[in-house]
């Protein structure tokens, strides 16, 4: 299979790689770049476990060819924390609000929530639910995932967050 040289930026670092035109971005990231945080759940773009960012958009990387990412800025779960390892507000929300169970959907869920809050910094509960409806959690941790994103929104906006009494 002929290969194409692509140059791209992954988590702020320049990279170049030879990829086959049939290689999906998720397989490129996981198998060639060893960035295994994004997962494969459905192969059809419905579960969102493979969600990454391409040029500021949430993208399901199982529906994208690696060659389509040539020249793009890509962010994966491995690049979402601060350079010193400080968790992002969304990561902290998922961590603190128990927005995860088995954790398999979590990287994709966090990448999607990250972009959702950039698109809509103060979403209502309903906007959160619909905004991440393309990311399945089978376990299912949906209730706490909403809380995690509310926590992150509050932290980003500097507004108070009160975990509902349990």
């Amino acid at each position: 299979m002929a290969k194409t040289l692509i140059e791209l930026t992954i988590n702020g670092e320049q990279a170049e790689a030879l990829v086959e035109s049939r290689t999906l971005l998720i397989h490129f990231l996981r198998e060639q770049m060893n960035l295994t945080g994004a997962h494969i759940g459905c192969d059809t773009g419905h579960c969102g476990a493979c969600t990454v960012e391409i040029d500021g958009m949430s993208v399901k990387s199982c529906m994208t060819f690696a060659v389509q990412a040539a020249g793009a800025q890509i962010t994966t779960i491995e690049g979402i924390a601060g350079a010193d390892g400080t968790l992002s507000a969304v990561q902290e929300g998922f961590r603190m609000m128990h927005g995860l169970q088995c954790g398999y959907c979590t990287p994709g869920m966090i990448l999607r929530a990250h972009r959702l809050l950039l698109e809509n910094p103060a979403p209502t509960e309903s906007e959160i639910r619909y905004g991440i409806a393309g990311n399945l959690c089978r376990c299912t941790g949906y209730v706490n995932i909403v809380k995690a994103i509310q926590y992150a929104a509050a932290k980003i906006n500097g507004t108070p967050f009160q975990e509902a009494a349990e």
Partner: protein, 758 residues
């Protein structure tokens, strides 16, 4: 009952002191999971790795007559194609079955096809892409036979046992007499479809052979069982098999029994002599790794003029495969939930050309209680009673068919607290009485939740070190429920050490057997073994201290000291004690270890019925023009003994209740009756709830003390949430619309098929 060894309740209560147990701590592995560093099986890429992709059958029954192996092998990057013609022969037939917890498998030992999506070849290549293309090039041809599909696809037959071995029949009293004397009678048939577990992580194996030694990364809910199964199939010593499964991307029963595709991954690695990764594609999850069998349940009930049940009959017909035996135990719920002088439950099987069904989150109880809770509701309405009052009228004070007392049962409090929170008292009795501001029909329903409290055999090892830290090892499995955290909480309290000074190691077959993460028994199973291992350590430590006259504890006697925050202290005077470090240092020991085991207690099981209980209240809104159904509110109140971690327990209840939403309204594997192939073997068309489907959910933890169920006094929480929810939603749909849907999932066409119904 004098021969029963009573758990030391005082000891349980003491260990709460300053404890980790009961604290809503967040997950120990949370940081790994939010940074993408938790390693699932398919994340492992050893040097020299090859990729394997399964080719699966496009027919349901027959033989494979041709595969274009030459075309596949000619594709650049393809290393080998494994077919029945060249696949390694296993040491024993994959159809031999030593016990019930074992799948018969289709692993290229012959060319027969027994269900659609059955593996028929494996292509192994340098890249995933090449292997995938190789599969496409195989272009299989078949000798096809007519598929036998569904509950009417072949003749029903009588069963001896269902589920994990429960008797297929069970009951008390005379059903016909009970029905004859009833003032109100009701009979109906309910159907539940085939459902697929669909953990978000597909089954994956990364297999590496070194001679007769195997290292395997694969998700497993039962490491010891998996190890034994592999050993038998490959004719090797279990000690030569190391399975690593630190994180599962969900299981729900699909990863309980070692499955055919996982065996194929191991075979492929042996076949090519290199490490091989084999990951199922989503559509391949619909067949060879189990599902929840479909059921048709007929219930006949009678009640006297006061609403007391006089008869409860629950007959189930359920599908299994033509080559194996697993039967959904749907009727067992009716044996222990409501009091009735006459109860009869029975199951019949029917075979189909499908992959074998298996345990799926709340096996038996999920479909069984769905039907039972609907039928009870229908009878209540017919008898002119409030559905909650009717359930209370028929409250079982003892387990109906055995007459055993319950080890604990706070169901009455569940009903009360759930009803109060939901506002049930203001519910109008008749249907179609409530509308919201948008004109949508609003309905409220209730369902009783129930799941048995079980425990499996397990062993643990605990080590206390002179520096005050500790380590606990057990081959338990965390499929997402939170074992990494809750087991550490149990271990920390058992050893009297700070939670943060406790290293826990789970998820490897090299560790002492951790039993099964299933049956809602994972925490009871592993936690009890850990508790005993910790007690063994403390006992040894106490022996060192109390027999040494240099210790402040000298003479206190083994039973007179307790562990507290890194110290042993006198039970009668906690100000007098000695640190673990001091005791160990004086004895010249760097560490001290202990072992513990746990398992079912036959005398307790003989004496008590053990179940978790709960009550679920649901609100639905239905569009009167289009029949669109939305669940808008769920309140569940559950009693499950001692709560190790309320944060994680609540999360389990939420998850279970959302599975109930999926069962009631979404999940349905639809088979083409002509070919037997599933028409929706993907996550686009096999619908599961998304976040936008999920309503406001509340889970109330109802206090319950159980001195009998196990040493920790805890029951399971992982599955019960489904059980009351399905019936509650179905009953709420009736209350909104006046239409009784008796086939799941309830979809808008069900409500619209009778014009004028809504």
């Amino acid at each position: 009952m004098s021969d029963i060894t009573m758990p030391n309740v005082a000891a349980i209560e003491r260990s709460r002191h300053g404890s980790s147990i009961g604290q809503p701590v967040t997950r120990r592995e949370g940081h790994l999971k939010v940074t993408g560093q938790a390693g699932y099986a398919a994340d492992y890429n050893p040097p020299g790795l090859l990729h394997a992709v399964m080719a699966v059958s496009g027919i349901s029954r027959g033989r494979v007559t041709h595969l274009d192996v030459a075309a596949a092998e000619a594709h650049p990057g393809v290393v080998k194609v494994m077919t029945p013609a060249n696949a390694p022969k296993l040491a024993k037939s994959p159809d031999d079955k030593d016990h019930g917890f074992m799948f018969r498998m289709n692993v290229l030992q012959n060319d027969s096809v027994r269900f659609a999506n059955q593996p028929i070849a494996v292509v192994i290549a340098e890249t995933l892409e090449a292997a995938t293309e190789g599969v496409a090039l195989l272009r299989p041809r078949y000798a096809e036979e007519p598929a036998r599909i569904g509950l009417d696809g072949s003749a029903a037959f009588a069963l001896q046992a269902v589920g994990a071995g429960a008797p297929a029949k069970g009951g008390i009293g005379d059903i016909e007499a009970g029905l004859a004397e009833a003032a109100t009678r009701f009979e109906a048939t309910y159907e539940t479809p085939a459902q697929y577990h669909n953990p978000l992580e597909p089954h994956a194996t990364v297999a590496e052979w070194d001679g007769d030694k195997l290292v395997l990364h694969t998700p497993s809910q039962g490491l010891t069982m998996a190890q034994g199964r592999i050993a038998g199939l490959f004719g090797i010593d279990p000690a030569n098999i190391l399975i690593k499964s630190p994180f599962l991307g969900g299981g729900f029963g699909a990863k309980g029994l070692f499955s055919g595709p996982q065996v194929l991954g191991i075979m492929a690695a042996r076949f090519v002599g290199r490490p091989v990764k084999l990951v199922l594609r989503r559509e391949q999850m619909f067949g060879p790794v189990g599902h929840r069998g479909e059921t048709r349940q007929t219930l006949r009930l009678g009640a006297d003029s006061t609403g007391g049940l006089t008869a409860l009959e629950h007959n189930t017909l359920t599908t299994t495969s033509f080559y194996d035996d697993f039967f959904e135990p749907a009727g067992t719920t009716s044996r222990h939930l409501y009091a009735s002088p006459a109860i009869a439950t029975s199951h019949e099987g029917v075979r189909a050309d499908i992959g074998t069904p298996i345990f799926m989150r709340a096996p038996g109880e999920a479909p069984g209680s769905a039907a039972l809770e609907c039928a009870i509701d229908e009878l209540a309405v017919k008898a002119g009673m409030d559905p909650l009052d009717f359930r209370l009228r028929n409250y079982a004070e003892i387990e109906p068919i055995t007459g055993k007392p319950f080890s604990s049962k706070a169901l009455r409090q569940c009903y009360a607290q759930g009803a109060a929170r939901f506002g049930w008292a203001s519910r109008p009795r008749a249907p179609r009485q409530m509308r919201d501001d948008d004109g949508l029909l609003v309905g409220w329903g209730v369902g009783t939740a129930t799941f048995p409290a079980m425990i499996f055999p397990s062993e643990a090892r605990a080590v206390l070190r002179v520096d005050g830290s500790a380590r606990v090892e057990i081959g338990a499995q965390d499929m997402g429920q939170g074992a990494w955290t809750s087991l550490a909480q149990i271990a920390a309290d058992g050893l009297g050490v700070d939670y943060d000074k406790l290293d826990l190691e789970i998820g490897s077959s090299a560790l002492p057997t951790g039993g099964i993460a299933g049956g809602s028994a994972g925490t009871a199973t592993a936690g009890s073994a850990i508790h005993h291992a910790a007690a063994d350590v403390i006992k040894k430590l106490a022996a060192l201290a109390t027999s040494d006259e240099r210790s402040p504890l000298f003479g206190a006697g083994n039973s007179g000291v307790v562990p507290r925050d890194g110290r042993l202290v006198r039970q009668d005077d906690e100000s007098r004690g000695e640190s673990y470090a001091s005791i160990l240092a004086r004895a010249g020991l760097a560490e001290i270890d202990g072992k513990g085991s746990a398992g079912p207690n036959p005398s307790m099981q003989e004496s008590y019925a053990m179940h978790s209980h709960g009550a679920v209240f649901a609100e639905v809104k239905v569009d009167p023009d289009f029949g669109q159904i939305r669940v808008t509110r769920l309140v569940g109140a559950f009693a499950a003994g001692r709560i190790i971690n309320p944060r994680m327990v609540r999360s389990q209840y939420y998850g279970g209740m959302i599975w109930g939403v999926g069962f009631a309204l979404h999940e349905h594997a639809a088979a083409d009756p002509r070919s037997g192939r599933l028409m929706n073997a993907n996550l686009a068309e096999y619908h599961v709830p998304v976040n936008a489907d999920v309503p406001l959910i509340e889970a109330i933890l109802v206090e319950e003390h159980d001195p009998h169920v196990n040493v920790l006094g805890l029951k399971g929480v992982g599955e019960i949430g489904i059980t009351g929810t399905v019936g509650a939603i179905a009953n709420a749909v009736w209350h909104a619309t006046g239409v009784r849907a008796r086939a799941f999932p309830i979809t808008l066409d069900t409500l619209l098929e009778r014009p004028g119904d809504i």
